[in-house]
Symmetry: C2
Amino acid sequence: MSDSKKSLTLLSDLGEFGLIDRLTSDLPVYHKSTIKGVGDDAAVLDYGDKYLVMTTDMLMEGIHFNLVYTPLKHLGYKAAVVNFSDIFAMNARPRQLVISIAVSGKFSVEAMDEFYAGLRLACDQYHVDLVGGDTSTSLTGMAISITVLGEVSKDKVTYRSTAKENDLICVTGDLGAAFIGLQVLEREKNIFEGARGPQPKLEDYNYVLQRQIKPEARKEIIEFFETNNIVPNAMIDISDGLSSELLHICKQSDTGCTVYQHKIPIDEQTVKIAEEFNFEPTVVALTGGEDYELLFTLPLNYYDIVLAREDISIIGHITHKSEGCNLVTEDNTQVPLVAQGWNAYKQ
Amino acid sequence: MSDSKKSLTLLSDLGEFGLIDRLTSDLPVYHKSTIKGVGDDAAVLDYGDKYLVMTTDMLMEGIHFNLVYTPLKHLGYKAAVVNFSDIFAMNARPRQLVISIAVSGKFSVEAMDEFYAGLRLACDQYHVDLVGGDTSTSLTGMAISITVLGEVSKDKVTYRSTAKENDLICVTGDLGAAFIGLQVLEREKNIFEGARGPQPKLEDYNYVLQRQIKPEARKEIIEFFETNNIVPNAMIDISDGLSSELLHICKQSDTGCTVYQHKIPIDEQTVKIAEEFNFEPTVVALTGGEDYELLFTLPLNYYDIVLAREDISIIGHITHKSEGCNLVTEDNTQVPLVAQGWNAYKQ
């Protein structure tokens, strides 16, 4: 390329979020149907009585998945579900999906059938219509890109940027298991490669493996909001780790936050296996990624109704910006939250 | 994988269209907003007073583009435009775009800026809002996936499947130049790789190179339809070659067709360079691909108004299915049209 003699900046120096900010600054808007563009879990579009939300995600072989230990059916399922999670994070329901997929010409039709079986299963489970796509060749690894459209009442769309001071900070399910599942798969991948020798008992790892290989998106939380006429002030899905997502909400909402270490939900299998790997479970929950849980903030008056749900944890509250974003540890020390989200270019 | 001992079918044996048919058969539809799914240039969705159309395309390095001779700015432009072409092929206007892109961490920020400059230029030229995306790492080549939403009045949406017997078959612009441009680039790629020695005069190839490297989509044809209150009976964009697209229209419309060799529009530079390469120009126009022209069928009463336009050629007419799909050659011989469209898995 012509610029080879200039001093260039590597993407890995800038990081994913820095890069997105740079590439998408000052984007013009030509259509009044564009309500919200880059900067949330999904774009928000006005085409009728409701808002449409649109999100897209790309999964690359060797980066986001390893075919050595990922069954293709599970991969198809997960590729869809991670997009549904982004739609739920807008308080919307997924409706239509298009998929582009590139694989080697040496791929078998039967392997493609497996992938599509998983994709179609996810669409069936979440009631989403598969309406189009593109299939293509790859010279090297497999590439998958999915775009999903969803729908939400105009008065219920939920952004990252509208958390309010004193809001409860809530998180669904438990955190860190998907990351720990990935560590187990990486450690044991020789089994999947057909090596002989002592085989580990994978049943002891069932929960964390399932969280990594067949994640679900939190449809039932959106239904709970609807049934109880709750609209969160802010919401995001946890794909890069709790810490990174909390900082997104606070930065975009111009607030601070305080969360409590002992309130962060971590499954006991996650804790046990994290310790096997000499990981601090809280750090795993804060930075692990791929949990696809929902993180949202609610006015205080919802305290009782949320407390009654076993699948939602109240982990802290939104503060004034001047207080910063902090974690209160179990020994009652306050430490600043740091963005340790996944830097895609530092692999 | 577990199926390694069974007899498997390679994707290259089935071809892209066979594969799509297999993977997308019997798809359930859960939402009444889904009007048309897989099987046209774009899906058609009902969310308001107008229809939305949604299309997606994936471009893989080494398959769809070669960075040796493709400037990144042009690549960004082309990646958007090929999707706009699919939107126009539904008689719709593009409105919003999301992009997923995966590149090596060793890619420079400045290279990414170049790509985005081209993407943003295309969005500006065609008045499309860039509303979201995903940036990610690739272990090997670059992968680009773009999804575009467009809008069309419900009474004007145009499918592939509704051509009528006796319709005029029309094509915009001229055909085969993009394919010939690619041949020139492939032949001369040593220049771009920095080889010394006699340099070809690329100015003699300007038109075909521009058609390959910076294609445009036929926005003005959709405006012409609107101004003149014309709704084509059927339409498709020419990405895989005239022959393949005509067969799509006839198969899906359950008709035949007759087209005339001497009516197929081919630029004189294309003819000249095709002969340099010992290609028959008509074969190039029929099978070349990447022209991004529109192919449409119209009732006979539009004959005069279409004839008056220099950028539209009437190349034949739709017939009864029993007559088959035929090309009448310059010596007045009738030969069946054959699908020689690009088989993505036979590279």
